[in-house]
């Protein structure tokens, strides 16, 4: 007979069974994000989920790592809110003021800018 206590235990076990895979998936996602965001590409470790041991990266993953190793040009990122559009201007799109000393020992300042190709 299903007593109230047994029923409560069953509910708890059922809840745990449902929650654990979700938590695992969430952790895996967080790990992946952290790996991308904070690890050097060379430091990434690939684990074969079937045998739980290290494996070599695939061609796609090697290409992905190669791209991560390259400095990426900063692009104008557009976001939308309340019907407005916002563009975050990368630092490399700021006006840069340079200076040169001429033969007479005088400084001449001028603007230069690293324009990213967005």
């Amino acid at each position: 007979m299903l007593t109230p206590i047994k029923f409560a235990n069953a509910l708890a076990i059922l809840g745990l069974m449902l929650a654990c895979p979700v938590a695992q998936a969430q952790n895996a996602s967080d790990d992946a994000q952290q790996n991308r965001a904070h690890s050097k590409p060379q430091a990434r470790v690939f684990i074969d989920p079937k045998i739980g041991e290290r494996r070599l990266p695939s061609a796609d993953e090697r290409e992905q790592m190669r791209q991560y190793a390259q400095p990426q040009p900063q692009t104008m990122q557009v976001t939308h809110r309340d019907g407005m559009r916002f563009v975050h201007v990368p630092v490399d799109r700021r006006m840069q003021l340079q200076a040169e000393v001429n033969a007479q020992g005088q400084v001449r300042s001028y603007h230069g800018e690293e324009q990213s190709h967005d």
Partner: protein, 391 residues
């Protein structure tokens, strides 16, 4: 029911009075440096040119805030304009150096009260026009080269001059002039059009680009294709500013640097990204603050010249009787033995300057001072209170 003296004739008038009195912009330097470096450098310094700082860091901070106040006293905004500022060691050698980098941190389009739809505005201007803070965080980012100071290996020993008096000794670099120039870029004196491809950001013109006209092609930049804009950017002498305030009030005052009544923009061939288009032409005479090359005969303490006209064209409201062009001397000239006065907010002397009748895109407001943006609400509250008492 509204009392007789509260008829609609009075209400809009009172509301209008309140709304037209925007206050002088509060441009605030946010010190983004770590302890003992940059703005926090504790190297002892002697007060100079009205700058009372006794450490290198204090003098740097005072000078940048002075430049910010100089602009804030001329432009209207009820929304604080934070400048995210740093002094960092940057490239420097005896022959050349990076001096500074600055610009708007964010562009905003399609906000409330935007004069042009489908147009990106620098966030400080967008905030002023919308009368609300549309994007949290700094509005302008600015970095200055700390390696220039006290470094004989950098620019053959020249230093930043942090005095407030536009009077650097020898070949030292006038910091307030440099900082003012850079901040004006951050307030809207710049296009974000890619001069290599001719593309607008996300296909949308910025407000500066809307006023760029090519006299040979007979069109403004939004009317041109991207390849045409690339060609136009090096159309030396024929790329001009098509803003009504600048045309009507600034161009007639110039001895050189105009074409058919328009003020020329810097458009050398080949194009110089970073300098081209976002400056006045070097032909402009008398020299102007917003030319691409430093000109020793420009004194920001005497005003920011044609820049006020352009800023008015892109949407800023001038304040405190600021003129277009702005050649007003400070009402108070600081000297080296003065007490600190970083306010620079003393209005230029009142005058019936050419812009006092109101410009095309805002014009001068009624008065400066510190009007209350909640004035209309206060008026309404007072009216309701009085009505209650009468009832």
């Amino acid at each position: 029911m509204i009392n007789s003296w509260l008829k609609p004739v009075w209400l809009p008038l009172l509301l209008g009075l309140g709304m037209s009195t925007a206050q002088a912009a509060n441009i605030v330097v946010v010190n983004n440096d770590s302890p003992d470096e940059g703005f926090n450098d504790t190297t002892p310094a002697t007060p100079v040119g009205g700058n009372p700082g006794t450490t290198l860091g204090q003098q740097r901070l005072n000078a940048l805030q002075f430049a910010a106040n100089l602009l804030g006293a001329r432009l209207a905004s009820n929304i604080t304009i934070p400048i995210d500022a740093e002094f960092n060691p940057q490239q420097c050698s005896p022959g050349n150096a990076t001096l500074a980098a600055a610009g708007a941190t964010t562009l905003v389009a399609d906000f409330r009260n935007a004069p042009f739809a489908d147009t990106f505005y620098p966030v400080a201007l967008a905030n002023a026009l919308a009368n609300e803070d549309l994007a949290a965080g700094p509005d302008i980012g600015a970095t200055f080269n700390s390696g220039i100071d006290n470094n004989p290996e950098c620019l053959t020993g020249m230093d930043w001059y942090y005095g407030f008096d536009d009077n650097p000794p020898g070949n030292d670099l006038n910091f307030i002039s440099t900082a003012t120039h850079e901040l004006v870029h951050g307030l809207g004196f710049a296009t974000f059009t890619n001069l290599i491809t001719g593309q607008f950001v996300e296909g949308t013109p910025d407000v500066y680009a809307r006023f760029i006209r090519d006299l040979i092609m007979g069109a403004t930049w939004p009317e041109l294709t991207a390849p045409q804009r690339v060609a136009s950017a090096s159309n030396d002498g024929n790329l001009v500013w098509d803003g009504p305030s600048t045309i009507s009030q600034a161009a007639p005052t110039l001895a050189n640097g105009t074409n058919q009544g328009w003020v020329q923009l810097f458009a050398p061939a080949p194009s110089q990204p970073g300098s081209s288009v976002s400056h006045w032409d070097t032909d402009v005479a008398p020299n102007a603050l917003m030319e691409p090359f430093d000109t020793a005969d420009v004194f920001v303490t005497q005003g920011i010249g044609l820049a006020t006209c352009l800023l008015q064209d892109v949407g800023w409201t001038l304040i405190n009787n600021t003129r277009c062009p702005d050649g007003a001397p400070l009402s108070r000239q600081p000297s080296s033995d003065d007490d600190v006065d970083l306010s620079e907010g003393d209005p230029p002397p009142a005058s019936g300057g050419p812009s006092s009748g109101g410009g095309s895109s805002g014009g001068c407001v009624l008065a400066g001072g510190t009007p209350d943006p909640f004035f209309p609400l206060l008026v309404l509250a007072a009216m309701l209170f009085l009505r209650q008492r009468r009832v």
